[in-house]
């Protein structure tokens, strides 16, 4: 139903340059697009600038009699955002980070009996830290994680947005989560979970001394 409503709004924008219709769509996606861009560029100023440009470009595209090409507005706006970020990277002389799906797995999972306990504690307490960890994950992984779990977009639609097939998207999500987990567990940050680490680190240090 939401998709049909959006299609109707797109049609009104295309046919009549309807500002009210555009305002409705803009309000729906304004914050989401900003957050999506922020996770890509990691700068609030750049995110604000780029997110604004996304909607200006969307208005120009739709009012240029292109409504028929936009069957799914959500996919369209995210694709537009990705393309703008790529142009932004090019202007900055940066190449977007891509991953080949045939790449060898990055790091083997650290088998840590404390991990579940630590992770649960961590996630409950420090979003800022998690945000920082997420920024350390490769962009291709970070992108699909954000689309899937923050924007709550389905696999098929993500595939349409990033122009890959659904199987590839699932692989990217799986690797992205593994990568994020590795970043969190290998982090040197101590302030939050230091008490827990101290207790169990002492235990594991004692054990390793015994072995040696």
């Amino acid at each position: 139903m939401q998709k049909l409503k959006e299609k109707y709004l797109v049609f009104r924008i295309s046919e009549g340059q309807d500002q009210q219709a555009f305002t409705q769509l803009y309000s729906l996606y304004r914050e989401k697009i900003y957050q999506f861009v922020y996770f890509k560029v990691s700068s609030q100023e750049d995110a604000e600038d780029l997110a604004s440009q996304v909607f200006l470009k969307a208005w120009e595209y739709l009012t240029d009699d292109n409504a028929r090409r936009v069957q799914n507005f959500r996919a369209f706006i995210y694709q537009l955002t990705r393309n703008l970020v790529i142009d932004y990277y090019r202007m900055q002389g940066r190449a977007p980070q891509n991953v080949e799906l045939e790449d060898i797995e990055e790091e083997s999972a650290i088998e840590d009996p404390r991990s579940t306990f630590l992770l649960n504690q961590l996630y409950a307490e420090d979003r800022k830290y998690l945000d920082e960890c997420l920024k350390q994950v490769k962009e291709a992984y970070r992108e699909v994680i954000v689309l899937r779990y923050l924007e709550e977009i389905g696999i098929e639609e993500i595939a349409e947005i990033i122009e890959k097939n659904p199987g590839n998207v699932r692989v990217l999500i799986h690797r992205g989560l593994k990568s994020l987990r590795s970043v969190i567990l290998s982090s040197n940050r101590k302030s939050l979970y230091e008490p827990h680490r101290t207790q169990s680190t002492n235990q594991s240090n004692q054990e390793s001394e015994k072995r040696s």
Binding site: L4, K7, Y8, F11, R12, E15, G16, Q17, D18, Q19, Q20, A21, F22, T23, Y26, R30, E31, Y34, Q35, Y38, F39, Q44, A47, E48, A51, S52, F55, L56, W59, T63, A67, R68, A109, S115, T116, L119, N120, L122, Y123, A124, R127, K128, L130, D131, L134, I145, Y149, L150, L177, K178, L180, R181
Partner: protein, 255 residues
């Protein structure tokens, strides 16, 4: 990564939604974006389009996927066809829906692949022509050639029925169909007599004579069901054999 870890990780990621510390824009940021975007849009927009017929048609064309539109068109055509078929059943020659009635019958014949069955169906439809002729006569419409038309079509249907029967290969089916067709032919002969009766001078009214003659000739082409002579012959042979054995035993036949 086990299932529990994965679940915890996903839950944590989801908690970043709408979180300012994870990139969710502040109200100031939103306000700045609004000013920039909406001022640009306002400068270029028109008033809301007033829905007119072309707007509605264009919108429908845009909102409805081609596949859905095609499916609905097919369903609509089928519904219209079914409605036409039902309402055309009582149509007589000269009526608007008579063509639709004949078309429905033709379609039914085409979908009957078995030649013997097709012959029977064709013969039944021939009977419809006689019913039409009778109804026209009862309504008093014999003067304008509508009865002729019905009888001519009747003759054609009977001929096609006999032709279809010749194409049938299965002897059992042919036998059953022949019997049924022959029975109908007898009924139809009497019906033609009623529709176009001979006067006391045993002549038919001029104009319908040719059509009635044609119809009767077509009925003459219907084969009578074959008489079951094979069994009698077999019985005759058996009797002769028994007779012969008897004679041999009694020594009446010299060998």
């Amino acid at each position: 990564m086990n299932h529990t870890e994965r679940k915890a990780l996903i839950k944590a990621i989801k908690s970043l939604k709408n979180a300012p510390e994870a990139g969710w824009p502040s109200s100031d940021t939103v306000e700045r974006m609004d000013n920039r975007v909406m001022s640009y849009v306002q400068g270029q927009s028109r008033q809301s389009a007033r829905p007119g017929l072309f707007f509605v048609l264009g919108m429908t064309k845009y909102l409805v996927s081609p596949r859905f539109a095609y499916t609905m068109a097919v369903i609509a055509l089928m519904a219209v066809g079914a409605a036409a078929a039902i309402s055309s059943q009582g149509a007589l020659p000269g009526d608007t829906l008579y063509g639709a009635k004949l078309a429905v019958e033709k379609t039914q014949i085409r979908f009957t692949s078995n030649p013997a069955r097709r012959a029977v169906v064709q013969m039944e439809f021939a009977g419809n022509r006689l019913k039409e002729a009778r109804m026209i006569k009862q309504e008093g419409g014999t003067a304008n050639g509508r009865v002729d038309d019905a009888l001519t079509r009747f003759a054609k249907d009977v001929t096609e029925a006999t032709d279809a029967l010749k194409q049938a290969a299965d002897p059992v089916q042919v036998k059953a169909a022949t019997s049924e067709i022959a029975q109908k032919a007898e009924e139809y002969k009497q019906e033609i007599e009623f529709i176009v009766p001979l006067s006391k001078k045993r002549t038919r009214t001029v104009g319908m004579a040719a059509a009635a003659e044609q119809a009767e000739q077509a009925l003459e082409g219907v084969e009578e069901p074959a008489v079951e002579e094979e069994d009698e012959d077999e019985n005759k042979d058996e009797d002769e054999e028994k007779e012969l054995e008897k004679e041999l035993k009694e020594g009446q036949v010299g060998l």
